[in-house]
Amino acid sequence: MFETRLAEIETLAREQGLDFFSTSFEVVPQDIMTEIAAYGLPTRARHWSYGKVYQSQRLYGTMGLSKIYEIVLNNDPSMAFLLDSNPDIANLLVAAHVFGHVDFFKNNVMFAPTNRNMINDAVTHAMRIDGYIERYGLDTVEHLMDIGFALDRHIDPHAGVNRQPYPERRVVEKEHPTQPYADLFDKPTPSITYEVEGEAFPPHPERDLLWFLTTYAPLDTWQRDVLHIIREESHYFYPQFLTKIMNEGWASYWHAELFHQYSGVNPDEMLEFATLHASVVNPGGRYSINPYFLGYTLLVDIEKRWDQMHQDGASELTGRQKLFEVRRTEDDISFLRNYLTIEMVEKLQLFSYGNQNANPAKPRSDQSQEIVITSRERDEVVETLLTPRYNYGVPQIVVKDVVKNELYLEHLNRNVSFLDRRYAQETLAYIAELWKHPVHILTHDEQSQEVYLVAEA
């Protein structure tokens, strides 16, 4: 019964133009659901921090405070998990939602470089790390993983997972055309200069801290492997971080759309569906917006506007066609900049807020903070929404220089905010532990003055 309806919804989804990897569903008890959600993948290298998440999630789950409805993995073939205690109608909704996600994984351009075999690769990662634990001891491996996880968001998504080391020092020939477009006019008489490459180390500010340390810090092979595993899995999760709003919006749009067209549910179930849909795309609280809601609402708005424009002859694309284009080309940053319009900001009554000291005379530590509406301007609202989405959600830190074996880092865009001093100091100590020589970082203190923090090896 359930399987039949699931197959019908899958067929419907494909008819509507969704293009997804073949997806297998597994119905599991809550506990397994919690466990997969805590790890992010069904099987992954062990670490105590997953245990911490699992423990608290499980507690919330048992107390009925939170329920994980769905897990879907970006993989070819894809794999999704449904909760055994859910009624069929809820799991059908989830399945429709899942098809939206898998279509997004397959077609959104940000996901193009991701490893589509991560489910299996993570298993081999886990086995390799288990081997290291056996050989070098749990404490040692765990500590190295602590360090890896501290830096796992400092990667360079554009450079990709597999990178070549910087070029060796060598002289390269460079051609300089005598005039622009000279080659077009069949006058190939370029002047040639010789430049030295690979003199500076690193040749450019390096934002992939994890790659830099894995490649150039004096480490054992197994240590490099552990860090590489962490970096690879971090790369895998990056597009999901970058498209949270769109991805959830797209999946929500499609479960709603498919159920509007699907005839295989009775009226009682339809009511249940509507209730569940309403809770999935609930607007959120006063201080935060539900990303499902935001994504869904914007997509519905885009479809309406482009249908209108198509009707008026202003656009070749229909609303639906426009949606497919958006899902292919945008990430959250461009999506919000392009489609969170002034009208939508007004309609959704969005505002940006910030903290302000209630009593500036007192020291900052025991200040009570007032939360104040800072703006209702569209640009301000959009940028505030985007701030935590830049750079994998972490401050931008680059490797600037290596002088006498000492590593110099720089915190870019320091004016955004200062670093948490204690955390920065501890993280720096982690890096120094790998680098085995002192590590410095140029950043701002709380008064926006430039300051160097140092960690000895």
């Binding site: 466990e35 790890y39 099987t43 992954r44 062990r46 105590w48 921090s49 997953y50 245990g51 911490k52 998440v53 699992y54 499980r58 939170s66 489910i119 298993v123 086995m127 288990d130 602590d146 968001r153 400092h154 607007p283 959120g284 006063r286 201080y287 935060s288 009554q349 969005l350 505002f351 940006s352 807020y353 910030g354 903290n355 530590s365 025991d366 200040q367 009570s368 903070q369 007032e370 939360i371 104040v372 509406i373 800072t374 703006s375 609202v381 505030t384 929404l385 701030t387 972490v394 401050p395 830190i397 955004v416 905010s417 200062f418 670093l419 948490d420 955390y423 501890e426 993280t427 709380e446």
Partner: protein, 387 residues
């Protein structure tokens, strides 16, 4: 896809590992925890919350809460909420479950009993002697027997292996294989009653005006853990609480920990009272008596000679006398004349320095964290060296 067994169900394994790390973190923090106010002022059975910085997952992050986007009515400049002080950047309201777990300082809950166990497990009352009368008993569990039936948790692996090997060897194949129910052996425990000699512990505290709140706090935390320790380790130990300024009196436990007083200091009064009480209730022939005194050492000068005599008399009666002197000066008191130089032994300690007796132990405490060392010193398990 078939998965190797050891890779399945890692959640439980990792959460056990997490628990283990919590315990380790507590152990590393004992020195600080022992003077933690929240613990000492708790009612005894409560679970206590311990902040664990050790379990923070460090990374580069911003130091102040960032702005956010909300929805609803209001104009720019309107105050829409309030965050309490020491804001750690937690978002107000319900919000989304964050995608960065564990960003906050982690707190664990633990019972006081567990905590005491961890702190004081290696300690014992020293120089405990066998006395002919009235035995103090405590119970322990010991594996005493081996049987063929039992719970698997108590499986005696070595014997089980041996039996298997023996059985196979009897059939001409000396190797471990094909386990049979008959091979299994289980350890069985018995409740074991351990008898101790009688013990009485006298706790003397200086409550004179010169004992500032800070100093008294140090003394109280010492006695707090002392009492917890005795209750945990020895089921029937008698405790006597004596508070003194110029005069000494025996007070109930509750009062001892809440007492405040003012006035001069005359330590001899406490020793006198303790000596009398001891003779009456805990004579040396049937009791091991321990006496601990905490003071800031600012004794009335003319009283010192009397003190010396009394302490010498007490040493003849007691298994041990411990004296702790508190030079802790968190708040500068207006009794400034008393503690002019904190490095030289103060009046009472200089007196005790003249007594050389193996069982007179004294410590100086100059900050809260040293309470732990004091406990370690006083309660070091010691064997009898001269009997």
């Amino acid at each position: 896809m078939s998965l190797p067994w050891e890779l399945r169900r890692r959640g439980l394994k990792d959460s056990l590992r997490h628990d283990q790390r919590v315990k380790e973190a507590i152990k590393q923090n004992l020195r600080d925890l022992i003077s933690e106010e929240a613990i000492i002022t708790s009612d005894g059975n409560k679970r206590v919350k311990i902040p664990l910085r050790y379990l923070d997952q460090y990374r580069f992050k911003y130091g102040q809460p960032q702005q956010g986007v909300g929805q609803g009515e209001g104009h720019p400049g309107d105050v829409i909420g309030r965050q309490p002080g020491q804001g750690d950047g937690s978002q107000p309201g319900d919000g989304q479950p964050g995608d960065q777990p564990g960003e906050h300082t982690y707190e664990v809950e633990i019972t006081l009993e567990e905590l005491t166990q961890m702190m004081l497990e290696d300690l014992a009352l020293p120089w405990m002697e066998e006395k002919p009368e009235r035995q103090v008993t405590s119970t322990t569990h010991r594996y005493t027997d081996v049987r063929r039936k039992g719970s698997l948790a108590n499986l005696d692996k070595r014997r089980t292996l041996m039996n298997n090997l023996r059985r196979n060897a009897a059939r001409g194949q000396p190797e471990v294989r094909d386990f049979h129910d008959d091979d299994l052996r289980f350890k069985v425990w018995d409740v074991h009653k351990e008898t101790h000699s009688n013990a009485a512990v006298y706790m003397l505290m200086d409550c004179s005006g010169s004992m500032t709140t800070g100093k008294k706090y140090v003394a109280k935390s010492f006695f707090f853990w002392m009492v917890r320790f005795l209750r945990m380790k020895y089921q029937r130990v008698e405790t006597v609480f004596i508070a003194h300024d110029v005069n000494a009196q025996i007070v109930p436990e509750q009062e001892f920990f809440t007492l405040s007083s003012a006035g001069g200091t005359c330590c001899s009064s406490a020793y006198q009272l303790a000596g009398e009480h001891l003779e009456q209730h805990h004579p040396a022939r049937s009791w091991n008596t321990y006496l601990f005194h905490f003071s800031d050492g600012d004794n009335w000068p003319s009283d010192n000679a009397v003190c010396k005599e009394l302490v010498e008399a007490l040493l003849a009666q007691c298994s041990m006398v411990g004296y702790g002197e508190i030079r802790y000066d968190s708040e500068s008191s207006f009794y400034g004349w008393i503690s002019q130089n904190t490095t030289a032994p103060s009046s009472l300690q200089s007196v005790f320095n003249q007594i050389t007796h193996e069982r007179l132990l004294s410590v100086t405490i100059s900050n809260k964290e040293e309470v732990y060392q004091a406990l370690q010193k006083f309660l070091q398990p010691r064997e009898d060296s001269h009997v």
